[in-house]
């Protein structure tokens, strides 16, 4: 016999592995260690959807607005993420351009799309390649650690390049929505319960 814990009406505490009955709604805690328990399925889908939506909204200003303001005497320039990559590419640092492009454009976008895919399929109880989707979720978790790269680059540059009148770097207004995208996608992937991938599989 193969059955999922939820089908049997039980759940295990993620911290102390105590098995409990799957009853009650809202802020459920483990009776033994008081660890918060995963939300009820319907709740958690709403949660992830809201976070992904918020991240998708912030993704727009993060890419359209100025990310970095560089003053390198006698020129000054305002760069969005994309124009900064273009500048790196044209100035010969194509390797750096690729790294920044992947870290700042591809990763957040793929994360968003992947989260959308996972939520939509999980909500509709899809039976489409649950294993691949689980792998995708794992990859998402790992990639999430690196997606703040752009913010780190600017923070570092701002701190290092302060040569008074000759050169200085300042973060632009896009930094905040960009950081918001990264944080929200991380929260969304953390809120996503990978077990719901298998909800449709019996």
């Amino acid at each position: 016999m193969s059955a999922r814990a939820s089908e049997l009406g039980i759940l295990a505490c993620p911290s102390c592995d105590l098995v409990m009955r799957d009853v009650g709604v809202g802020d459920r805690r483990c009776v033994r260690c008081r660890e918060p328990l995963p939300r009820a399925t319907r709740d958690h889908h709403v949660h992830v959807t809201a976070l992904v939506l918020a991240a998708a909204i912030l993704y727009i200003p993060a890419n359209l607005m100025t990310m970095m303001h560089t003053e390198q005497f006698p020129t000054r320039r305002d760069d969005t993420i994309l124009s900064g990559i273009g500048f790196l590419w044209h100035s010969g640092s194509w390797d750096l351009a690729i790294i920044v492009f992947i870290a700042s454009i591809v990763v957040p976008l793929v994360k968003l799309l992947a989260l959308v895919l996972l939520t939509v399929t999980a909500r509709s109880g899809s039976t489409w390649r649950p294993r691949a989707r689980t792998k995708l979720y794992r990859a998402l978790e790992i990639a999430g650690h690196w997606s703040m790269l752009d913010v780190f680059v600017i923070v570092l540059l701002t701190a290092i390049v302060q040569l008074g009148a000759f050169a200085h770097v300042e973060p632009g207004p896009a930094v905040i929505p960009f950081a918001g995208v990264v944080v929200l996608t991380m929260l969304a992937s953390a809120a996503f319960d990978p077990r719901s991938i298998w909800d449709g599989s019996r």
Binding site: L8, G24, D27, L53
Partner: protein, 511 residues
């Protein structure tokens, strides 16, 4: 559908008091929307108008990089540079910031600030490193437009500078140029803000800008003059060099002042036109109102008298030569020159006034009175004013008129008879002196001098024989004399020794 076998398992604890509705999470996307909209609206509000400016050349401008600056504050960027359809201009599209939108007024001026080096100074030096930028002079108009024609040079005056503009007309621009300074009592108070040829091409029109707070020093009776270079005056007081400032020696400049500081005056309105005089003495001279045409006929050479040469009366230059007309008299078979000149009798000041007053009683005009001076023996004569350059002038004086040449009378003209000039006289005298010098028998004198030298030579050699031959009588007697002197010296020494030992012998005598 809980399986009965799990009935014994504990139920999870539920913190009901911290329970919240699951839809609370929708606050997060809501906040995200608000934040994104805020950022978007703020960015949208900062987008100012895009305007186009045409320039002759895009030299130094870079699309996306060159800035638009007003009072050195960046107010926009050059977005795009394109060729105009006629290919004679370039069209620069400028994106202004929102707060600079009002600067796109109808009378706003745009120009490209590049490094410019002139004698008046160096401007736009910073653009050497930063690259050219577009300078803006804000207009006052309320109407905003989208396309402008750019200036090729920065405007002489920006609208926010306080002061007043005046117009000057001059015959020649000389060393005047844009930004040439204007001095009042050798203090720079303004500059030339525009310089152009009058439409007829005969005169130069300069627009000068006098800065606040000096604009009120320009009055209705102000005279402007060219203070370029320096004035060197040599007079009884010695050598005097006048310049406005060292810079004007090199770069030129204008100066102004009033002829009579005590005369009543009123402040000149903006845009008043003044004449620009060539130098200070000319500017300070009273304007000549009354002009009397004058004609003189000279049979002699007019060398040294050119158009503009002065007419001197009692040391006062009262007029100038206008033209010279060579002529030939068939009856006397002689060449002559008619000189047309203009006399400004007012330069004689009180003297002329008295003359007119004297004639006024009998209904005679000033010209009549001047003509009457001729009857009293006034004659014209060419004199040399400068022995080095040979420049001459015409002197009016009471001269012996036995050799006077009558001038042909012309209506309404003062005709003055002439007498041969001092130059001609001097030439004659010099000729006489040369003839006399010629008459001196230099050859004979030379021979005599030679003979004298020979005899002197003879006597010196005879003297040499007498004095220095070993057997000459002078030699032997000289020897004897010397011996006697020697002996006298010996006895003197004996006396001196004795006196040293027996000084009392001076009183008591030798024992």
């Amino acid at each position: 559908m809980t399986d009965p076998t799990f009935q014994d398992l504990p139920a999870p604890a539920v913190h009901r008091h911290r329970r919240h509705h699951p839809s609370v999470i929708w606050i997060v996307p809501f906040v995200a929307i608000v934040a994104a909209l805020t950022l978007g609206i703020r960015a949208y509000l900062r987008i100012g108008p895009a305007i186009t400016v045409t320039f002759e050349t895009a030299d130094g401008l870079e699309a996306g990089k060159s800035e638009v600056r007003f009072k050195n504050v960046p107010i926009g960027k050059v977005d795009r540079i394109a060729l105009a359809e006629d290919r004679r201009h370039i069209i620069a599209t400028l994106k202004l910031t929102k707060d600079a939108a009002g600067l796109a007024a109808r009378d706003t001026q745009f120009w490209v600030e590049r490094p410019r080096i002139g004698v008046g100074g160096v401007t736009g030096l910073s653009t050497i490193v930063s690259g050219a930028y577009i300078g803006v002079n804000a207009g006052a108009s309320n109407e905003t437009i989208e396309s402008f024609v750019g200036l090729e040079h920065p405007p002489g005056v920006t609208t926010d500078q306080r002061g007043r503009r005046f117009k000057l007309t001059a015959r020649e621009a000389g060393s005047l140029a844009l930004h040439t300074p204007i001095y009042l009592h050798q203090v720079a108070v303004g500059w030339i803000s525009a310089l152009e040829l009058a439409p007829d091409g005969k005169r130069v029109t300069a627009e000068v800008f006098v800065e606040h707070p000096y604009e009120d020093t320009v009055t209705a009776s102000t005279v402007f003059w060219n203070a370029s270079g320096m004035d060197v005056t040599i007079d009884a007081g010695g050598l005097r060099i006048d310049t406005q400032s060292l810079a004007t020696v090199v770069a030129g400049g204008l100066a102004y002042g009033v002829r009579d500081a005590n005369a009543p005056d009123k402040v000149a309105a903006a845009g008043t036109t003044f004449a620009l005089y060539d130098d200070r003495p000319q500017a300070m001279m009273r304007p000549d109102v009354e002009r009397i045409p004058t004609r003189m006929r000279f049979p002699a050479s007019m060398r040294g008298v050119a158009v503009g040469a002065g007419i001197d009366f009692q040391g006062v230059t009262i007029g100038a030569v206008d033209s010279l007309h060579p002529g030939y008299d068939a009856t006397t078979k002689a060449f002559y020159t008619d000189v047309d000149a203009t006399v400004f009798p007012e330069r004689l000041e009180g003297a002329f006034a008295s003359l007119v007053a004297e004639g006024g009683a009998s209904g005679k005009t000033g010209l009549d009175m001047l003509q009457s001076l001729v009857g009293r023996g006034l004659r014209a004569q060419i004199r040399s004013g400068n022995l080095i350059t040979g420049a001459g002038y015409i002197a009016l004086a009471w001269l012996p008129h036995d050799k006077a040449t009558a001038s042909v009378a012309v209506a309404d003209t003062w005709t003055i008879p002439t007498v041969p000039g001092g130059v001609d006289h001097m030439q004659e005298q010099v000729q006489e002196i040369i003839t006399k010098i010629d008459a001196i028998p230099f050859d004979a004198i030379g021979k005599e001098v030679q003979q004298t030298i020979a005899s002197v030579h003879q006597s010196t050699s005879a003297m040499h024989d007498n004095l220095f031959a070993p057997d000459s009588p002078i030699q032997s007697s000289l020897k004897t004399t010397l011996e006697q002197v020697q002996r006298a010296a010996f006895s003197l020494r004996g006396l001196a020794d004795f006196l040293q030992q027996h000084p009392e012998s001076l009183i008591r005598g030798k024992k």
